[in-house]
C-alpha cells in the first residue's frame, strides 16, 4: 500500500463519496423512553480509488458503524453515500445487488464470521453462487481453487471445515470469500486484532498483495495505530461519531493537530524501551461519553486539556488546514 503520496487530491479518482452521513439507532433508555444512539453523526469524506484509508478510534467511536453504513448494511438516517458517482443511499435489494458485488467486508473475528457447518469451498463458493459468477460446476471448483491459492491456503483443504484451521488461516478464508466476487472496495474491520502477533504480519502482507494484484481500495478499520501507520495512505481519527482529523498518514504521525489525536499517538505502546521509558504520555482524563447523550458543541471537550467556553457552545467545523489536512477543532494551529 503506501504508494507515492503528495499528489494533490484533485487528480485522484473518487471511488466513494460520503456526505453528511448520519446513522442513528433507536433504543429505549432505562426508563423506557425513546432515545437514539448517534453512532455516526454528520460525517463527510471521500475515499479515492486504489488507496487505503484508515479509520482509528476507541470502541464506541463509530468506526465499525461507519464502515457498515457505507456498505449499506444499514439504512442511513440521513446523508448521502455515492459509489463511483452513483447515489446508493436509498437503493434496496435488487438494485443494491450489483453494488454488493463491488463492495465486500472482512470481519474482525475469524472464528465467528465463518459458518462452522460449511466447508471452505462452500463458504467461498456461496459468494460465487449468489452473484452467478461460475458458469459450470467445474468452473466453480476451479475458481475456488484459484482463490485459495491466491490467499496462500493449501488447495487440498477446500473440503475441510473452519474448525480445522488456525486463526490466521481462517482469516485467509475470509479474505478469499471477500475477493471471490472481484470487488473494487473492501472494508477491513480490524482484520488482525484477533490474531497472534506472529501471524499478524502474514495477514497484513496478504492484504497488501491482494490490493496490488486486484487493484483494490480499502477502508481499514483498526484501533492499532502501529498497524495503521504501516498500511494506510490516509487516516481518519474518529471520536464519538465524528471524524475529528483526516490526513495523509505520514503527516498525521508527524504533525497531529487535534488534541485527541495527539493523546492517542502518545498512548501507543512503543516497542523500544529506550523511547518508551523516557517519553511523556498525554494521559486523557475519564472515558469516552455515551453516544446517547453526547456533550454539546465539540464532543471531545469533556476530556480535552485545552477546552474553553466556545467548545461547549459551538460545534467546530471540519475543515481543510492546507494540503488536505482536515481537522475539527476551534483552536487548530493556536495550541
Amino acid at each position: 500500500m503506501a504508494k507515492e503520496t503528495g499528489t494533490s487530491a484533485e487528480d485522484k479518482k473518487v471511488l466513494i463519496e460520503v456526505n453528511n452521513l448520519k446513522q442513528y439507532f433507536n433504543i429505549r433508555n432505562n426508563l423506557g423512553e425513546k432515545a437514539s444512539v448517534k453512532a455516526v453523526d454528520d460525517v463527510t469524506f471521500n475515499i479515492y480509488k486504489g488507496e487505503t484509508l484508515g479509520l482509528v478510534g476507541e470502541s464506541g467511536s463509530g468506526k465499525t458503524t461507519l464502515g457498515r453504513s457505507i456498505l449499506r448494511v444499514y439504512d442511513p438516517t440521513s446523508g448521502q453515500i455515492k459509489f463511483s458517482g452513483v447515489d446508493i443511499t436509498k437503493f434496496q435489494k435488487g438494485k443494491l445487488l450489483p453494488y454488493r458485488k463491488k463492495m465486500q467486508y472482512i470481519f474482525q473475528d475469524p472464528y465467528a464470521s465463518l459458518d462452522p457447518r460449511m466447508t471452505v469451498s462452500d463458504i467461498v463458493g456461496e459468494a460465487l453462487d449468489i452473484h452467478k459468477l461460475a458458469t459450470s460446476k467445474k468452473d466453480r471448483a476451479d475458481k475456488i481453487r484459484e482463490l485459495l491459492k491466491l490467499v496462500g491456503l493449501n488447495t487440498e483443504h477446500s473440503s475441510r471445515y473452519p474448525h480445522e484451521f488456525s486463526g490466521g488461516q481462517r482469516q485467509r478464508i475470509g479474505i478469499a470469500r471477500a475477493i471471490a466476487v472481484e470487488p473494487e472496495f473492501i472494508v477491513c474491520d480490524e482484520p488482525v486484532s484477533a490474531l497472534d502477533v506472529s501471524i499478524r504480519a502474514q495477514i497484513i502482507n496478504t492484504l497488501e498483495e491482494m490490493q496490488e494484484r486486484l487493484n483494490l481500495t480499502y477502508l481499514f478499520i483498526s484501533h492499532d495505530l502501529g498497524v495503521v501507520r504501516h498500511t494506510c495512505d490516509r487516516v481518519g481519527v474518529m471520536y464519538l461519531g465524528h471524524i475529528v482529523e483526516l490526513v495523509e498518514s505520514e503527516e498525521l504521525y508527524r504533525n497531529p493537530l487535534h488534541p485527541y489525536t495527539q493523546a492517542l499517538l502518545t498512548a501507543i505502546p512503543e516497542p523500544d524501551p529506550e523511547i518508551a521509558k523516557k517519553r511523556n504520555r498525554i494521559i486523557l482524563k475519564g472515558e469516552i461519553p455515551s453516544p446517547v447523550n453526547p456533550p454539546s458543541g465539540c464532543k471531545f471537550r469533556t476530556r480535552c486539556p485545552y477546552a474553553k467556553d466556545i467548545c461547549a457552545k459551538q460545534v467546530p467545523e471540519f475543515k481543510d488546514y492546507g494540503n488536505g489536512h482536515y481537522v475539527a477543532c476551534h483552536f487548530t494551529g493556536k495550541l
Binding site: 497472534d196 502477533v197 502482507n205 505502546p269 516497542p271 529506550e274 523511547i275 494521559i283
Partner: protein, 335 residues
C-alpha cells in the same frame, strides 16, 4: 544479586484431555527480585498464563502441576496445605485478570467485594475501618467519588473503572507480588495508558513486584525491567528489557520484533514469522520453534537446545549459540 522473592524451578504443568496430554508448561525456571517488574511475552498457547496461574494454585482439573517447584519468599508454594494456601493467595501474591467484567461478581457491590479482600487480610476488623480503608483504596487507584462508588455494582462501572476496582481489590491484601494477566488487553488505548500509568505509580509507592503477562511488546518495553519470551511451553529467551529489545538472540524473539510495523520501513513489506502456531498435543521432539525457524539446523529437529548464558545473564535456548552445533553447522532449508 539481592534476595529473590520468587523462584520457579523446572515447572511443568500438563492438561490431561481426552485427546492426550497437553504440556502447557514444559520446564520453566526463573527468579524474580523484590520490587522488579517482569514481563512475560508469548502468543496464545505459549504457557505464559498457565505458568503464572500455578503460582496462585489456580490450576484446576484436568490440569496438574506435574513437576518442578515454586518458592516464594523462602516458602515452598507447591507443597502448601489448603489453609496455608488461602492465607498466601491475596496476602502475599494477588492477581488481576484480562477481563474485569467476568472477574467481578455481578450481584455484589464493589464495596462488598473489596471488603471481602480486607476481611481476608485482617480477619477481625470493624465496619468503619473497612469503609475507611476501602475509600482509601479506591482513591489510590484513581476512582472519583469513592464513597458513592462503593455502593455501586460492577455493571455501573465502565471497563477501565472495573479494572481499577480489580486493582484496588488486589491491593487490599498489600501483596508483595502482583500478577497482572493481560491487564489492558480488553481496554482502549487511552484507557490502557491510564491503567499502565496507574500500575507504575502504585508500584513506585508500594514497592511490590509485578509479573506482567502480555502479548504486546510495546507494553513490555514500557513497563518491564526484565523480560521472558515464551514459546510452546518453554522459555526461549530471557534478559533485561534493554538487552532483549536491542540485542535479541533467539530467532523467535528476533522474528517478533521484526514483524512489528516500523516507521522507518514504511512502504516495505512486513517480515512475518512463517508457518502456524504450534499444536501442543504434538510437540516436536526438539526445539518447539524449529518448524517455523529460518535458521533451523539439523540438530534442532530432534534435540532440545541447552540454555546459553550471555552477558548480564541474557539467556537463550537455541542451538545457534551452542558450540557443538556450530562446529559442523549444516543449515537445513526450511520448506
Amino acid at each position: 544479586m539481592s534476595k529473590e522473592l520468587l523462584k520457579i524451578n523446572d515447572l511443568k504443568v500438563s492438561f490431561f484431555t481426552p485427546a492426550g496430554e497437553v504440556k502447557a508448561v514444559n520446564g520453566v525456571s526463573y527468579t524474580l527480585e523484590p520490587g522488579k517488574v517482569l514481563g512475560i511475552v508469548g502468543e496464545s498457547g505459549s504457557g505464559k498464563s498457565v505458568s503464572s496461574y500455578s503460582i496462585m494454585g489456580l490450576i484446576d482439573k484436568p490440569g496438574k502441576m506435574v513437576g518442578g517447584s515454586i518458592t516464594f519468599d523462602g516458602k515452598d508454594v507447591s507443597a502448601m496445605k489448603k489453609a496455608e494456601r488461602q492465607n498466601f493467595s491475596g496476602n502475599e501474591v494477588a492477581m488481576i485478570f484480562q477481563d474485569p467484567m467476568t472477574c467481578l461478581n455481578p450481584v455484589f457491590t464493589i464495596g462488598n467485594q473489596i471488603a471481602e479482600s480486607l476481611y481476608h487480610k485482617y480477619g477481625k476488623i470493624s465496619k468503619e475501618e473497612i469503609k475507611k480503608r476501602s475509600i482509601e483504596l479506591l482513591s489510590l487507584v484513581g476512582i472519583n467519588e469513592p464513597e458513592k462508588r462503593l455502593s455501586q455494582y460492577p455493571h455501573e462501572f465502565s471497563g477501565g473503572m472495573r479494572q481499577r476496582a480489580m486493582i484496588a481489590m488486589a491491593l487490599a491484601g498489600a501483596p508483595k507480588l502482583l500478577i497482572a494477566d493481560e491487564p489492558t488487553t480488553a481496554l482502549d488505548v487511552t484507557i490502557q495508558a491510564q491503567i499502565l500509568e496507574l500500575l507504575k505509580d502504585i508500584q513506585k509507592k508500594t514497592g511490590m513486584a509485578i509479573v506482567l503477562i502480555t502479548h504486546d511488546l510495546g507494553i513490555v518495553a514500557d513497563m518491564a525491567d526484565d523480560v521472558i519470551v515464551m514459546y510452546g511451553g518453554k522459555i526461549v529467551e530471557q534478559g533485561t528489557v534493554y538487552s532483549i529489545f536491542h540485542n535479541p538472540c533467539h530467532p523467535y524473539t528476533k522474528g517478533l520484533i521484526r514483524s512489528l510495523p516500523d516507521l522507518n520501513r514504511k512502504g516495505e513489506k512486513l517480515v512475518p514469522i512463517k508457518g502456524n502456531p504450534i499444536d501442543l498435543l504434538n510437540l516436536p521432539k526438539g526445539c518447539a520453534f524449529a518448524p517455523r525457524c529460518e535458521n533451523c539446523l539439523k540438530v534442532c529437529i530432534n534435540h532440545m537446545p541447552a540454555e546459553h548464558v550471555g552477558e548480564d545473564g541474557h539467556r537463550t535456548a537455541c542451538w545457534l549459540y551452542d558450540r557443538r552445533a556450530n562446529n559442523n553447522a549444516e543449515v537445513k532449508k526450511n520448506g
